[in-house]
Symmetry: C2
Subunit: 139 residues, 2 copies
DNA sequence: ACCTTTATGCAACAGTGTTGCAAATATTAA
DNA sequence: TTAATATTTGCAACACTGTTGCATAAAGGT
């Protein structure tokens, strides 16, 4: 990302605010998918809990982040990569979640092959969630 | 399933109880993935809310259901198919969730191709979540 | 029928997600 | 720069989700 966070927000039609810059830089720092709870812990009292929900909502609506379905209590969010919001809006995401440390990372380099599905379904997007052990936690 | 719900429970090492039979038959009736909230609504006061959590926990531990990651508030659960708990325990699930009605169904007939992933990750299972419109809601 | 083990209901609680409103901040226009 | 407008924030209250301890009830084995 060659832009500053403020520019990045502006290019997505969002006002530059303290909360949004905090959340955006946190995503860039962590480079992994984060839940509301994790962000809330990382940000401490720098940003109100309810405001954080609203920041995430605005990020999702403007295509800065996408939801990552999770099998734990709460959903996670990940920064959209370049491929995500450009050209042919890229709706196929591959994520990896470690069974040990619980961290989820995006795998933008992994290509998701088309699968054959029943004709009765109109499939519009796909999300592949891989599980196992990350480099750090491999048994 | 040729067995009765009671036999099915027994074969999975669980006692036959009213709550478990209710939940199991509800899954069979609905033949789709259900959240705790949905089950709780369907069962009304036939089963206590906390007990329902414990029934789902026992079902998951004994391989009767598996979790389906969801991007809404709560996780869903789906009955494991024959393929799931037999032979080479089948950990690759494909689900379809309708963007309109929100229902999630298992697609056991869809085969999930192996994807190439970074060597640093030990992938043990995969979950593919397709989204779009079901036969009923297709625009 | 008795005994042991396990499941249930109830109640209380912590965490998660939502909303209304007043105050603060960002943007636009003058 | 200032004023006017639109948006965002913090706060507080609330509903929903998930967990736990404990007494009671039910299941399975003897």
């Amino acid at each position: 990302m060659t832009e500053t966070p403020a520019q990045y927000l502006h290019h997505h039609g969002l006002r530059k605010t303290l909360g949004r810059e905090l959340v955006l830089t946190t995503f860039l720092d962590q480079s992994r998918a984060l839940s509301h709870g994790e962000l809330n812990t990382l940000l401490g009292d720098q940003l109100n809990r309810a405001s954080l929900y609203r920041v995430l909502q605005s990020f999702e609506e403007s295509g800065i982040v996408h939801r990552v379905p999770d099998d734990e209590v709460s959903v996670k969010y990940a920064l959209c990569s370049g491929a995500c919001s450009s050209e042919q809006h890229h709706d196929n995401h591959v994520h990896f979640k470690c069974n040990h440390c619980g961290e989820t990372q995006c795998l933008p380099e992994v290509k998701l092959p088309k699968v054959k599905t029943p004709d009765s379904l109109k499939v519009e997007s796909a999300e592949l969630l891989l599980r196992g052990y990350c480099r750090h936690c491999a048994a």
